[in-house]
Each structure stands twice: as C-alpha cells, then as structure tokens.
C-alpha cells in the first residue's frame, strides 16, 4: 500500500449533505479516501467535525452508490436501469430537452433542486443556458427556506445580517475586536444539530462557553433550551406574534436604542404603532408563552450592550414567513445591534465573490436578452407574486406543481432534478407531486444513491460526485474556500462538470470563453485577486481584508453604499422598517401576524378530530433531510423513524414506548415508533422527516417503503399569502395518534 497523503479541503455537499463550510483533511491512499479529519488550521471549525463528515468513507464507497450513468429500460417505476456511457447519457438529455424546447418552449422544462447548498451555480448555469427561467425547489411549499428571511433583510437593511460569532475575523474568538454577545436569541433552531445557512451551529455553544446567555424560542425542550436563561416554549407558527410583542415591550418601556433609531432608522413610528396592536397578554394567549417570560426576555435582549439573534427555517415556515422575518429584524434594528461586535453582523461574501451571477446585465451577457425577458414573462408564479418577480430568480413551487397538473398557462413536460429527492423529501402533498410528475415526458435525476424519486420518476440518472471528488469553490459568507478534487469514484462527475458540459451544448456562444470549470471559477474569483490555484496554494481559504467585506460599523464608515457616504445601502440610507419594496409589491409594508392555517383557533372542527400539533423538520446530526439512512455508522445511532410523545399523551392514547403507531389526518397516515419523551409538550408531537428505507425494495409500488414513512404526504399545501414566500405547514399540521391494529 502506498503512502498516505493529507489534503486540506472544505466540506460542501455532496457527502455530508449540509450547507458546508468546515475545513476537512482528506487522507488519501492509493487514490482512495481512507480517512477524513477536521482541519485545525481552518478558522470555521478549528479541527472539529460532525458524524456525517466522519462517516464519509462509508458514504462514498457504499456498495449501493450509483457510479455510472443509468438509463431506464423498463416501465417508469420498474427499477430497471442499465449503465450507459456519459456521452450517450448527455446525448440523450440533449435530444430530449431539445425536443421539448422545440415543441413547447424551454420554459416547459423545470430545473429542480433541494435545499440550496452548492447547487445554485451549476443548476442555473444549465437552466439558463438551455433557456428555461424555471428554477425551483419543487415541493417546498411556500418556498419556506431562507429566502423569506433574505427578502426581509435585503429590503429593510439593504444587506444580509447574521449572529456575530467572530466568523468574519481570522483570529476568531481571540480577535480583540470581537465581544461575545451578552444574549443570543436562538429562534427556531437547534444549533448543536447542524450547520445551516452559512453558519456553523456549534458557534453558539462556543459563545456560551465565552459567557453568552441564551434566550431560546423553541416549542421543544432541547439541550440548548434547557440551558437557556429564558426558554420561550412557543406554539409552532406563532413566531410573528412573539416578535411583535417583544418589539412592543421594548418600545413601550423605552428600552430601544434612541440614538441609533434617530440616526439610522426610517419608519420607527409606523412600527411602533403596528407593534402596539400586540400587547403582551394578547401575545401570550396566541403563543402559549407566559407573559412574564416574554417581558423578561424582551428586556434582557434590549438591555444587553450587544446581543444577537440566530434564527432558523421555522421562521420561514410560519404563515407569511416574510412578514415574520421582517418582525424579527425589527428587534435587532431598534436595539441598535447592527454590525457591532457580538450583535447582528452584516454578512457579505468574501471579497464580494459569488458563485454565480445575479444581475440582469450579467445574465443578459451570458444567456442572451431573451432569457431575461423569459425570466420576467414566463417564470412560474412571477406574475402572481411580485416578490418572486423582484427578489431572486425562483419559480414558485406550489404554483409550479399546480401548473404541472393543469397545463395552464403552458404545459410542463420535463424536469431536471439535481440534489433533490422530491418524492421522499421536501414535497408537502408528496402524493400529489408523485402523481403529477409521473406524467412528465422527460425526467433526469442527478444523484448519488437511488431513492424514491430516482425509482419513481427517473428516465435517466447521472451519478454525482462527493466533495473530495470535485473541484469547486465556496464564498458563503466567509472565508472563500477552494475545493480541489483528490479522488475519483467510478465514473461520477461533479454537478459543475455535468452541467457545464451540457450547458455548452445548449449555449456554445455565451459560454465559449471558458474551456473548463476552473476557467469559470477563476473569472468569478477575480475580485479577490486570486485564481483558484492561487487560493489552493495558500491553504485553500482566505478572508476579506479590512474594508467593506469586514466588520464592524460599516454604515458609519461609508463602506456600504456605492456613493461612499455613511449609511445603509437603501434609498434613504437608513434601515427602512417601513418597507417600501413590500408596499410596491402589493404586500403590507409593516410586519404582522397570521394564525397558522390549521389550529384550534382557525379550524376548531378539525382540531377536535386532530388535536395534536405535529412538528416536523427538526435537524438530526446523523441524517441530512432524506439522506444517509444507508450509512452504517449513522443509521446505527437512530435505526427507526420515531415520534416524540409526551408521557401524559402516551397515557391518554394508551401507547407504550417503542410501540409502532400511526400519525394520521384527513390526508392519510404514516408509521412511527413511539418515543415517550419530555422534549415535547403534551399537545405537540415531533417527528423527523425524510424517512424511507434504502434497504427495502425500491421498485414500484414499494419505493423503499416511502409511503409508510414519508411524513410530508400528510402535510397540506400552501398558505402562501401575498408574498408567495412562507407558510409551508411543516410545523403546524394537526394530526392524531392511532394504534396500529394487529390484523391491518
């Protein structure tokens, strides 16, 4: 056996499944990854790791991994596939997609991704080169993932902001400029269980070790909530009311930062008036949190010299997620916690480098003016929801699946599905999605393993690479990292390579200036003054130097605006809490609260039948969404899909610990193993999403037992509101428990 070489790289899906960012050392022997360890020289994780990274060898070299392009040879769903060459596979895609474009127009092929990790670049590259404006997280009802939060921030603050855990400073916690937040509101997130949205979850624990106190907004008891100074055990989906109630307390008791508000905030009086509609007793009744706790938490946050908020996807999943995000952002604004050490730090990609272009000019240059026109005219949901038209290039997921059924205003004929297991994963109303997608003329799935989506739908499967097998770069938010290919598994190719080659076939003229993906990376990385190879030679990561890319107080220093004047990057130069963009888009310019679509208050009859609020979508450190169930070291630690049931509720339903039960509502039922637990309140149950059994039969009708376990099949469709963002009912669906009858 040859010697072992160690190469530093950065984790960014595939493999760990996560949003990545940590430095990892690849131990490579004879062309094979034999071990992976955290990289102690990387500022992100400082040597630490997680279960999914440490089990990567079992994932990469799993006997069931797809390592060659496969073409379906039996009926759809038969599970009969045969290997073909890459050339044949790409020819097939080119021909089928070209055919649909000729007959119906490019918009009739949709480009589907799962949660946004490293796929935004390659998938838009292909979609736009082909000519389709329809890039969509199909099935993710209300597109309830981060975009609502991003939209609220961009339109009020002109920027994005994140909890400051020193991540923008090379020396991290040792940097004298940084101060630990006195308080961190951990809002709808379980930081020890993963790394969301360009954030390393355990940073919150690092801050706790350095003195930060926690205000936990979580319906469940977790490690973190049970160590919080204040645990606001909220009723799922009522976060908007809580945020407005806290804003009201802070204003009423004059705890806000008057200097900051006077100098830097527009619309304060409007917010004050709106928040006054949410007195604490009313908020307490809505949220089921004692009024005293709400008051105490609001005071603690406002009185802190510096405090931060780390928020999660439950914010987006509230009805009107955008309005909820807007409400929460008012908290950090009126307390002057913006871009100060230990506050809400303005987050910019390192060196201003982004993986793919956003502006209309850049898009027109690369893909032609036609594409930009189609983006405006043909993008699904853009005419219905102005926020889709004006903020980010998504198609609206709920409208897309309806349109697939109706063919109105134009038919959808094909789907390119990459990094997404729609049927076994994100799709609320999973069966509706299954039925609609079954009728498509062409489905390509790009993935690493078979799953219910490859089995049920794929005509062709292209095998994707893990991060040790690919060239890529990452600049979300910081540092900028190079990811260099060190091993090859089978014939797998990176998403970038696959899409680059196919995109060139559709758009040879626009893309002719790059021969390889590295050429493209070099161009994107130009603002940093480094090429991909130069960054790699420097150890694979770099942070923005002093200047606009580095905190703090950039609004005072004139580092945020194009004109170089002090202020924020908004028309008024202030943080515009009265949101004029929302107003223009036909939305409420001020934050407000909406009751969940299903609840005791909004659907009392349903509530009588189905009195338990089902919380799904919590993060597991072992599995990322619907992935990893086939990895032995991970599955061992959580072999069965469980449901957390409070002991009182278990008694009421006569359920014992470990019993298999049904969770049911009018949409159907799923199976779970009862786990009697104090983590949930008596009127809530909690279960992990994404379950199917990779060890079971994959061919139809079985589909890896997905219909026994896919919780999203009993989650209803959208509560989209006017923004079209938010309102996926993943945390607020009403169900009841039922014993499984022996003879059934």
């Amino acid at each position: 056996m040859g010697k072992i070489d160690v190469y530093p790289t950065t984790a960014w899906s595939a493999g760990t499944g996560c949003h990545g960012g940590c430095g990892q050392n690849l131990h490579v022997q004879d062309g094979k990854l034999v071990k992976i360890e955290g990289n102690e020289d990387h500022p992100w994780n400082q040597g630490r790791s997680c279960p999914r990274a440490l089990a990567l060898t079992q994932y990469m070299y799993h006997e069931n991994r797809i390592t060659q392009p496969l073409i379906r040879v039996g009926e759809r769903g038969s599970g009969k596939f045969e290997p073909i060459s890459w050339d044949e596979a790409l020819d097939y895609c080119e021909e089928k997609m070209g055919g649909i474009r000729d007959e119906y127009g490019a918009e009739s092929v949709i480009f589907v991704q799962g949660t946004g990790r490293d796929i935004g670049g390659p998938i838009t590259f292909l979609a736009y080169s082909y000519g389709s404006p329809n890039w969509v997280q199909l099935g993710l009802s209300g597109h309830s993932c981060y975009t609502p939060r991003l939209g609220a921030m961009k339109t009020t603050l002109g920027e994005f902001a994140v909890a400051d855990c020193s991540q923008f400073l090379e020396k991290r916690y040792e940097d004298p400029e940084w101060e630990a937040p006195e308080y961190i509101i951990v809002w709808g997130q379980n930081p020890p269980n993963g790394c969301p949205d360009g954030f390393y979850g355990p940073w919150i624990v690092d801050c706790m070790q350095r003195g930060s106190k926690i205000i936990s907004v979580d319906p469940r008891n977790t490690w973190m909530s049970t160590r919080a100074e204040y645990h606001l055990q909220i009723r799922p989906g009522t976060d908007g009311a809580l945020a407005l109630g806290m804003v009201n307390i802070i204003i009423e008791e004059e705890l806000y930062d008057k200097d900051f508000v006077e100098k830097w905030v527009a619309g304060f009086e409007d917010v004050k008036k709106r928040a006054a509609e949410y007195p604490v007793d009313k908020v307490s009744a809505i949220t089921e949190i004692p009024a005293d706790d709400i008051r105490a938490a609001a005071r603690a946050y406002a009185n802190a010299k510096q405090a931060a908020i780390q928020w999660g996807v439950p914010v987006d999943m509230c009805p009107d997620g955008t309005a909820v995000a807007h409400a929460i952002s008012c908290l950090w604004t009126i307390t002057g916690n913006i871009d100060i050490p230990g506050g809400q730090v303005i987050a910019k990609p390192a060196f201003g480098v982004t993986a793919y272009p956003f502006t209309s000019e850049e898009l027109a240059d690369l893909y032609g003016k036609d594409l930009v026109e189609r983006m405006n005219e043909k993008r699904i949901g853009a005419d219905q929801y102005p926020m889709y038209k004006h903020f980010r290039g998504w198609a609206q997921p709920d409208v897309t699946i309806e349109q697939m059924e109706t063919g109105d205003p134009y038919p959808i004929k094909g789907a390119w599905i990459q990094t997404a297991n729609v049927i076994g994963g994100q799709a609320a109303r999973a069966k509706f999605h299954y039925d609609a997608m079954k009728k498509l003329d062409f489905v390509a799935v790009i993935d690493l393993f078979h799953n219910p989506t490859t089995m049920a739908l794929a005509d062709i499967i292209l095998p994707a690479a893990t991060f040790p097998e690919k060239n890529s770069f990452r600049s979300w938010w910081t540092p900028m990292d190079s990811i260099k290919k060190r091993v090859q598994v089978g014939e797998c190719r990176s998403d970038w390579e696959i899409n680059f080659e196919l995109a060139k076939r559709f758009n040879p003229e626009g893309l002719k200036r790059w021969d390889t993906v590295i050429d493209y990376f070099d161009e994107r990385m130009e603002p940093s003054g480094m090429t991909f190879d130069e960054l790699e030679a420097k150890g694979g990561w770099a942070m923005s130097p002093e200047g606009p890319g580095r905190p703090y107080r950039r609004h005072e220093k004139g580092q945020l605006r194009a004109d170089g004047k002090p202020g924020f990057n908004t028309p008024s130069g202030k943080v515009e809490l009265y949101n004029k963009s929302f107003e223009e888009w036909g939305m409420d310019p001020l934050p407000f609260y909406t009751e969940p679509a299903q609840s005791e208050a909004s659907t009392p009859e349903l509530f009588k039948k189905h009195p338990l609020v089902m919380i799904t979508g919590a993060r597991s450190n072992l599995f990322f969404h619907s992935e990893h169930r086939q990895v032995p070291w991970l599955r061992e630690k959580e072999p069965d899909p469980t449901v957390e049931i409070h002991p009182d509720t278990a008694k009421e339903y006569n359920i014992y610990d470990g019993e298999w039960v049904h969770l049911e509502n009018d949409m159907g039922h799923i199976k779970r193993k009862a786990k009697i637990s104090l983590k949930v309140k008596p009127n809530h149950i909690q279960t992990l999403h994404g379950w199917f059994m990779p060890e079971a039969e994959g061919a139809e009708p079985n589909l890896f037992n997905v219909w026994d376990f896919q919780v999203n099949q009993i989650i209803p469709g959208p509560q989209n509101s006017k923004s079209g963002f938010g309102g996926g009912q993943y945390k607020t669906t009403l169900v009841r428990l039922a014993k499984i009858k022996e003879d059934a």
Partner: protein
C-alpha cells in the same frame, strides 16, 4: 496507575454523536462496537422545568488512541468534539483542572 485520561465538561456535551463516529472511523469499528458511547437523560425538576443532560463514557474498546499520541495527535473523539468539551492529558493535570470546573467528569483509563 492510570497515567492518562479524558476530562469531559459534560454540561457542554450536546449529545451530537461526533465522538462516537470519530472513534469508529479511527479504529474502523463495525456497527455495534465503539470506544465511546453517549447517554441521554431527560428529567423534570420540582418546578416543572425539563432538563436534558448528556454524558459520554469510555468503553473497554477505548485505547485512548495510543497510535495517535505517538504522532502527537489528540485522540480522535477529543479533537472532533463539536463543542470542544473533551480534553486529553495526564490524569494528574486533569484532576487539578477538574477541580476548577462546575460540572466535569474525569475518565481515567488504562487501555487493555
């Protein structure tokens, strides 16, 4: 005599399973075998508040990563712990350190 041990600031153990997989990878232990195992305990205090605690313990399969020590590396579980709540060292040093921690457990261990 137990010369070496691992000090665990267990109040900061979040039950994340990282140490367990770190150990399995390091030793290529199959499913069912591990040098470290994390336990969870949920309980309700008299005031109604719920508490959730985690505690990792070392098993007979732990060899304190002796081969890593020879290369100047920390044990795999210690290095990769997500909350850096584990520390490897001489039991004499760690005993003194444990006395300064409000909630810590010192696992001494003489590998077999």
């Amino acid at each position: 005599m137990a010369k070496y041990g691992i000090l665990i600031d267990y109040d900061f153990c979040t039950g994340c399973h990282t140490c367990e997989v770190a150990c399995q990878q390091e030793h290529n232990y199959p499913v069912g075998l591990n040098g470290i195992k994390v336990t969870e305990y949920e309980y309700q205090l008299a005031n109604g508040k719920v508490k959730i605690d985690y505690m990792p313990f070392l098993t007979d399969l732990c060899d304190l990563c002796m081969s890593r020590q020879a290369e100047g590396e920390r044990p795999s579980c210690v290095k990769h712990c997500q909350t850096a709540c584990m520390k490897f060292g001489l039991t004499t040093d760690l005993t003194a350190e444990a006395a300064t921690r409000p909630r810590a457990a010192l696992h001494t261990h003489v590998p077999k």
